[in-house]
Symmetry: C2
């Protein structure tokens, strides 16, 4: 399988520039003091549509446009951030978007699709409905993670992290990346292992949703044995993909799993300490730094670590539990 290269990501970055935010690289002094590390946060909650997903969706459409194959519309399935990302990408380029979402999706996610002109089809069979829609309308599917163009788009997060670190004279010893299907860590890994090979790329999954870890252990994509509930709903992929598995095999230093209780605590503390509205998925990196020994991840005290905050789309009612 051909892997995404840093050149693919650089091209993606040039394509995306007019449409996405170059999010800042923020220091997190409270977390740094607590953990005896230099903790930095890459706040993709501040990204258009509230998550990094817009990078991959837009890069896919822009790549198709460059090659003269931009369709009149696209379909996708998503309960969350990919839905809004596709809607925004479509609206930006004048492409219709039809999005299969589960019955009973939370209102804020629905609003975030309608805001960008997406058409929602509610269903209990996301993939089946998406396939039917694709056939009926003649629109291609824009997958949430397992496409090279999506991976290259997500990789621009890594490009920005390294550029901003260099600009401020900051070393990056490790990047901790939330992992669902693995698109984000695939892209970040491709960049980091090319431009800063000694930087550790660490993937963090919920123990309730460890599809990429399972695939790495099995050496092939496997289905999760059960769909367990997770507070980190943004990471709830039922399986990894062939592309993301291959990238993880090539570019990821280690994968770790964190407990649901650690994610819940880390989420609250991350919002409090960073003053960023992030969703629970964004807090798995902090959970890992607390729940797993530094040595097990190849880290030691004093190192400079980046926590990628993947998104900020969360129902405010959940803050009531804080």
């Amino acid at each position: 399988m051909t892997l995404v290269t840093v050149e693919d990501v650089r091209k993606a970055s040039n394509r995306l520039a007019p449409y996405v935010v170059h999010t800042p690289l923020l220091r997190a002094p409270r977390l740094s003091t607590e953990l005896d590390l230099r903790v930095l946060v890459k706040p993709e909650n501040l990204q258009r549509t509230g998550s990094f997903k817009v990078r991959g969706a837009l890069n896919t459409l822009l790549s198709w446009q460059e090659s003269g194959s931009l369709p009149r519309g696209v379909v996708c399935y998503s309960a969350g951030n990919h839905a809004a990302a596709v809607a925004y990408a479509g609206q930006s380029l004048g492409v219709e978007t039809v999005i299969a979402m589960p019955h009973g999706a939370v209102q804020s996610k629905i609003d975030n699709v309608h805001r960008f002109g997406g058409e929602i089809v509610e269903t209990d069979d996301l993939i089946g409905t998406c396939n039917s829609l694709s056939a009926e309308r003649g629109f291609p599917m824009l997958l949430p993670f397992d496409m090279p163009e999506v991976i290259a788009g997500q990789g621009t997060v890594g490009l920005e992290i390294l550029a901003d670190a260099v600009a401020t004279g900051t070393a990056v010893d490790a990047v901790l990346v939330p992992v669902g299907g693995g698109g984000l860590i695939s892209g970040i890994g491709a960049v980091v292992k090319s431009l800063s090979p000694r930087t550790l790329v660490i993937g963090v999954e919920s123990e309730a949703s460890n599809a990429l870890g399972l695939a790495l252990n099995a050496g092939e994509v496997v289905d999760l044995p059960a769909r367990l509930p997770t507070i980190a709903d943004g990471l709830a992929a039922p399986r990894a993909g062939g592309h993301t598995l291959a990238h993880a095999q090539a570019y990821v230093n280690c994968m770790v799993e964190v407990s649901e209780s650690a994610i819940t605590r880390a989420w609250r503390d991350m919002v409090d300490a960073t003053k960023l509205v992030v969703e629970p998925s964004s807090a798995v990196g902090l959970a890992a730094l607390r729940e797993i020994s530094l040595a097990d991840m190849g880290l030691r005290a004093g190192m400079s670590v980046v926590l990628v905050a993947s998104g900020g789309n969360v129902d405010f009612s959940r803050f009531a539990d804080f």
Copy 2:
């Protein structure tokens, strides 16, 4: 009265560089679309201690240090952000801090003082207790807004806004500044009216707490006739100061008042749209853009306006109402 100059603010900026965050200047596309303006946010919730106040407190201590008069300790009174700012400034320079806080102050504010080694004295008479503490311990008072060093420190917010705007080729047609005692707008006004005179400096108060507006109308500092409750607790100054009044007279284009209900709505929407944890005080600028006609503030559609988000110290339980 001598006014703070842009040179004073530049000196403050050099002093503060090792201790404070140069917060980014963020675009707010959802608010821009809603308001038909180009809305930018200066997120001082991301500042050390969670508010801009640390700039003024640190500049005061650093100025005293430069002149060889750094005391062994300082006292201050505050129910909120100034308390943590003084504690942080003191800890940074090895100066004891004794802080008079009201009985029943919220736990997060108390924690934010203890985190930086401040000593808290609970009292129902903030100013009286602070005066006594100052006399007993022989420590000078570090006032929340009405000191030139504090105003110069807060002015660095304005310096950063203009520098980042220039760096990105962004015009700044207006800066909307939350106003309590007036320290922040005094400093920002000094910078803006020197470096970008055509940029409008607009102060926004809650109608429940309009001390600076009253002083400007009266031509002298006057006490608020009544202490009305306000959701924007960070702006609840009982009176402006002689220094801040003089700066407002010289540098502020207009002052407006917004209703409590407009602040409440703007607060929720600002958190949702920007994905920043901001306190209600930070949302008065958005409330003004919605509640007051643009023309009344000298604005028109398409202009580029900066909302200064003054801080992010808020009890999460309040998000439950969202």
